[in-house]
Subunit: 296 residues, 2 copies
DNA sequence: TAGATTGTTAATCGATTAACAATC
DNA sequence: TAGATTGTTAATCGATTAACAATC
């Protein structure tokens, strides 16, 4: 049942009920949000932006966690407000992009002042769905599975490891990060009981598609895949992949351009990049080339 | 010293010198490439594309490792040629994109036939710089560092773990993946001796920037960062980041949209997405909502 | 030659960015 | 009010895609 009451309540009442709320220039907010979350909404909520309600660009979604992290750090230092310039710098993006990104969420800033840190933390968390609890299963408890089970960044963001699963009897029964490793055959039951909608695959590549199919059959609709495999899934299931080898290969590509051997194929080297070669050459007395499989 | 002799050599000679070369419709190639690599270049090399030599788009570079992986699998199955349609499907992209991507590398296909698998493996490997040996240091040998040290995908692509480093005396001296964990203070010497240009940071976030600075000072110009921190580096140094928590948050965002509670803020649900909610509801007898921190 | 498939074009789409009017 | 900073506009840039002429 949903209670949505919008109204005006005096500033003194707000201040009484909710401590450390800095963003109450005009104390109007929705009552519902207080009932639901213990936090009133920002006055800016009333002027709902044109865009809100559909289609936050993917590129923006991918940056929201960055902003959230920077904001959380500011919050821990009890910084009350932050400008787009400061926040952008902390998040490693430019301020125009940040303001554009935030404009998709709504008008949550105050001209001439900046953004209220606490309020923005809450809004972004809500937008990302982090005000919910997300039970997650991790399938494949090898080195990487262990690492993920122990990763602190999960729990702190509303992700809860519902189960660690493996098909190998030698691994089942052991424990990782204080949790028992259970057999893959328990997946279906766990997924149903705990309403698991997110699965992490850290199996060897050969097992990944099969595990994926089984996760999907068990009702999992979001998959984070660490196995170096292209997964095929039905519509409505999201897959994101993290591929260590691919990241290194992309770095190698750019690194190769920097060191710039093989004149024939070489582009005009960007001045900044040439510095790396020079630095290495200076420190080693060689011409900076790598030991080459392909002798020049 | 560079030997570049271009010439025409009879087909029978090619076939004699180089086995399992399927792509010799017209046996003209550059001699240098044979001297250098043991592989002659493709006839198509002579018609150098307009673009080649500068500016392969980043989006294309990021996909080359995907194509390479798919091609390697085909190669292992001894498939001689592949069409853009087949390869695109194996790599999980559409064929127009694949052909456009390859067009930045050169005209390496044969109209009416497709692409020679072996030849393309070689060309993409070369483009990515994987025909070189890339010594890598991994800094921070916790769970994740261990996992990476053991990751098979590195070695198979020309990446070699030159050293595992940690600052914690309790960890230094132990071993991972058959390599000793050495003290962070050995970084500079190792980096110079082994000409390390790629570093992987798997430290806690608090140490990451400091480690990064030290890597850069030691001549490392490409960094793969697993710590959830924004790193600042001088021009000419590339940083790529892998952030497990961010990936999960992006999934949560989309997952939240699928399950579609909270009607007030909810966009018009895409039909495909609604299926997930229905499926879960059907299998559990609930309305598909998650246990909510924020009661509705 | 006929059939197949590439490489390229051009249209479209989405993301980035600087600039500035709106407004706190 | 004056100063500061947002939210938005519009221009630009880069990526995607379908379609098809080129050509094996």
């Amino acid at each position: 049942m949903r209670v949505t009451v919008r109204g005006q309540i005096g500033h003194h009442l707000c201040a009484h009920v909710h401590k450390r709320i800095a963003w109450l220039p005009k104390p109007s907010f929705t009552l519902r949000s207080i009932v639901a979350t213990g936090r009133p909404t920002h006055p800016a909520d009333r002027r709902r932006p044109a865009n809100r309600g559909r289609g936050i660009p993917e590129a923006t979604v991918a940056r929201l966690p960055l902003y959230l992290r920077a904001l959380t750090a500011l919050s821990e230092r009890s910084v009350p407000t932050v400008s787009s310039e400061e926040l952008a710098s902390a998040a490693g993006v430019n301020s125009a992009k940040l303001r554009k990104d935030f404009s998709y969420l709504g008008s949550y800033g105050t001209r001439g002042v900046g953004y209220d840190v606490e309020y923005l933390v809450y809004q972004i968390s809500r937008e990302l769905g982090l005000t919910q609890d997300w039970p997650v299963v991790i399938v494949g408890i090898g080195n990487l599975g262990h690492a993920l089970a122990n990763y602190g960044g999960f729990a702190s963001r509303g992700f809860r490891v519902a189960a660690l699963l493996d098909a190998d009897p030698a691994v089942v029964g052991s424990s990782a990060a204080g949790l028992p490793v259970r057999h893959m055959d328990e997946l279906e039951q766990i997924a149903e009981e705990e309403q698991v909608s997110i699965g992490v695959i850290t199996t060897p590549p050969g097992a990944a598609q099969q595990v994926c199919d089984r996760l999907v059959a068990a009702g999992v609709t979001s998959i984070l895949n660490f196995a170096p495999t292209v997964l095929s899934v039905p519509d409505g299931v999201d897959v994101r992949k993290v591929d260590l080898s691919i990241e290194l290969q992309i770095l190698a590509f750019h690194e190769q351009r920097k060191s710039g051997e093989d004149g024939a194929d070489q582009p005009v080297a960007a001045p900044a990049k040439a510095a790396a070669k020079l630095r290495r050459a200076a420190s080693t007395g060689t011409d900076g080339d790598f030991p080459a499989v392909m002798p020049a």
